[in-house]
């Protein structure tokens, strides 16, 4: 089987963030500013990513605009020929920065929103005054003529506001809305009991999304990411390990997905010591779960093996202790009952907010 090049790069520029969302996809051990790759190192990553076949870069974090060189980084990605997508909480975005990002070649902004109400958003994101600053950021993006996607992460404690979140997307001028149920890694796994939605909440949300899609056709596209704790088949995580995407962490680790470092025993390439092409093609960690050769039963020989690629390796490891196990989200997994057990135990409203140096 010949190795296909990756389509997109997730550039996690920093773990620093003014928000403290309890479902953050960053690892529990957050990288310090002193460990972060330099402007020049990111510029090299972008050139190598474009040469390798990446078409798009997601400038993410943490909060990417927390980096003082975010404009230079955006310019470097644009000059490398990549389509540039800024994934931001928006609270640090002001008019001069927006103007400079535009001039640097930014193509698209994805703005996060934690809840539809100011109080809810403040509580979940852990930052006072966040919501008006996000509204201002949305206005700046639109005034700059850039397309805006609103990203609403939904869970047990804000799903009752989903209709208002959809109204907010329209009000703020987004053409796309991502309604993304929390995925349970890192901080979200630590907060699982406070975040997992009930079946009734999920069904109501799905109905709300379907109705809104019909009502706002042509004005607002709604992407919907369903939570696999209520599923009987796993998601095709990252389109398959080491198959379509790669990520580079703030400290320069080259990863098949942003959560991959949560799997014990895998050694990931360091971009300061290797090239992106070598990491993609030669790293044993990338090869470990690529394709179907690594699979055991019930994945091995399953008709869906090349559709879902066995689900998520990080989730398999987090829940079963074995990264090569079938994702427990699959009903064929002998550990599928673990998800039902977690759903039964869910129901607290106490969060562990994300912070540097936290222990859980």
């Amino acid at each position: 089987m010949s190795l296909e090049p990756p389509l997109a790069l997730l550039a996690e520029l920093t773990h620093r963030c003014p928000l403290r969302c309890p479902y953050c996809s960053n690892p529990l051990a957050l990288a310090r500013a002193s460990e972060e790759l330099s402007t020049a190192e990111w510029a090299r990553v972008f050139r190598e990513a474009a040469a390798l076949g990446c078409l798009q870069v997601h400038l993410s974090g943490g909060e990417p605009t927390a980096r003082r060189d975010i404009v230079e980084i955006t310019a470097a990605a644009h000059e490398a020929g990549l389509y540039t997508n800024l994934i931001t909480a928006g609270v640090l975005l002001d008019a001069p920065l927006m103007e400079r990002l535009c001039a640097a070649g930014l193509d698209h902004v994805q703005l996060s929103v934690q809840d539809a109400t100011e109080e809810g958003a403040e509580r979940i994101g852990g930052l006072r005054g966040a919501q008006p600053r996000k509204a201002r950021a949305a206005a700046l993006v639109r005034a700059a003529g850039l397309p805006l996607t609103l990203n609403a992460v939904v869970h047990r404690q804000n799903l009752h506001h989903l209709p208002e979140l959809i109204a907010l997307a329209l009000d703020w001028g987004a053409r796309r809305l991502e309604v993304a149920h929390v995925q349970y890694y890192g901080w979200a796994l630590a907060n699982r009991a406070a975040l997992l939605p009930t079946r009734a909440q999920l069904d109501a949300a799905t109905a709300t999304v379907e109705a809104a899609r019909a009502e706002h056709r042509g004005r607002l596209v709604i992407d919907y990411v369903v939570p696999d704790y209520h599923a009987s088949r796993p998601k095709a995580c990252m389109g398959g390990w080491g198959r379509r995407f790669l990520a580079v962490s703030p400290a320069g680790k080259v990863l098949p997905c942003h959560a991959a470092e949560s799997i014990a025993g895998l050694v990931f390439p360091d971009i300061r010591e290797t090239s992106l092409a070598a990491a993609w093609a030669e790293s044993p960690a990338f090869a470990a779960f690529r394709g179907t050769g690594w699979m055991r039963e019930p994945c091995r020989g399953c008709a869906r093996a090349e559709q879902d690629w066995g689900g998520c390796r990080c989730q398999a490891f987090a829940l079963t202790g074995e990264a090569a196990a079938t994702d427990p989200a699959c009903a064929l997994s002998p550990q599928h009952h673990l998800l039902a057990g977690a759903l039964e135990e869910a129901g607290t409203d106490r969060f562990i907010w994300r912070e540097h140096g936290a222990t859980t």
Binding site: L55, G145, L146, P147, R175
Partner: protein
Amino acid sequence: MTPRFAPGVRLQEDRARGRWIVMAPERMFVPDETALEVLRLVDGARDEAAIVEALAARFDAPREVIAADVRALLEDLVARGALLG
């Protein structure tokens, strides 16, 4: 109509795979050969007639056929949000 790319949409070369693609916010699609020839002429200045003119000068096909193809393609891309007309 004078078509132009919608905000966040652009034609981009995919050298690794030997093709051109239309990049859009968090999605992409691969234009066929005819669509690619038309999209290369979309610059926000050329109107539909000028695009037909440019193609008629290059391709050995009846102008009416080219004009009909261009009209259908532009309408489709406007409907998909890739172009503004």
